[in-house]
Symmetry: C2
């Protein structure tokens, strides 16, 4: 369903763009970094991602071991998503892009505040 993920060159930037060079992947990571864990949470973000796109992004991120699923304590019986330790290493990337946007794009407002995931799961 998703692509084999081959890289165009040995450039680490080009290779990273092969993974994240699209409009949605890093936004899903952002939501995860902010503590969102359920499908509907991602759907509610202001950018309004489509279900099929969200689904394929989550699958690809799982294949890359940047995201994993776990049993949600909020909604028993359902699975939820979270960043792996490897996925967490993307936060500085998000931060760099968000910092740039905040400083250079009119009308943007800070909103990248990682939430403690355990706390969120325990106290919705």
């Amino acid at each position: 369903m998703n692509k084999p993920l081959q890289h165009r060159s040995i450039c680490p930037l080009a290779s990273a763009l092969d993974l994240f060079g699209d409009k949605w992947t890093l936004l899903v990571i952002r939501d995860l970094a902010c503590g969102k864990s359920q499908f509907k949470d991602f759907m509610q973000s202001p950018e309004k991602i489509a279900t099929n796109i969200l689904s394929s992004r989550l699958a690809r991120l799982q294949a890359l071991e940047l995201v994993e699923t776990f049993a949600s304590t909020l909604q028993p019986g359902r699975q939820a998503y979270r960043l792996t330790a490897k996925g967490e290493t993307l936060v500085p990337v998000l931060q760099a892009l968000a910092d740039w946007g905040l400083a250079n794009i009119d009308g943007t407002r800070a909103m990248l505040r990682p939430v403690d995931r355990d706390k969120k799961e325990q106290k919705p």
Copy 2:
């Protein structure tokens, strides 16, 4: 020729992705940051960008005032491209992505070494 550039939300990350969320834009910035200034220089990068894509990206970056043209001293009579001061502020973004790629994607090699632009223009 290029899009009106509207943002999906007030999120600085989402807005940044509206500008840079594609496979080529940041690679052009990379080349500029490394001191490349002529059309053919960009064409020679290992990722092999097509002329029409390079052309449209340069135009868009100029519209965003991240890139400007100047009279090349290397090839008199021809124009060349360089980052504006605003464009230079993207270097930390490149760096964050490249750092991540280098640390997490097998087979990548460091290659993001900004070159002094004036020196390059004077001593090819």
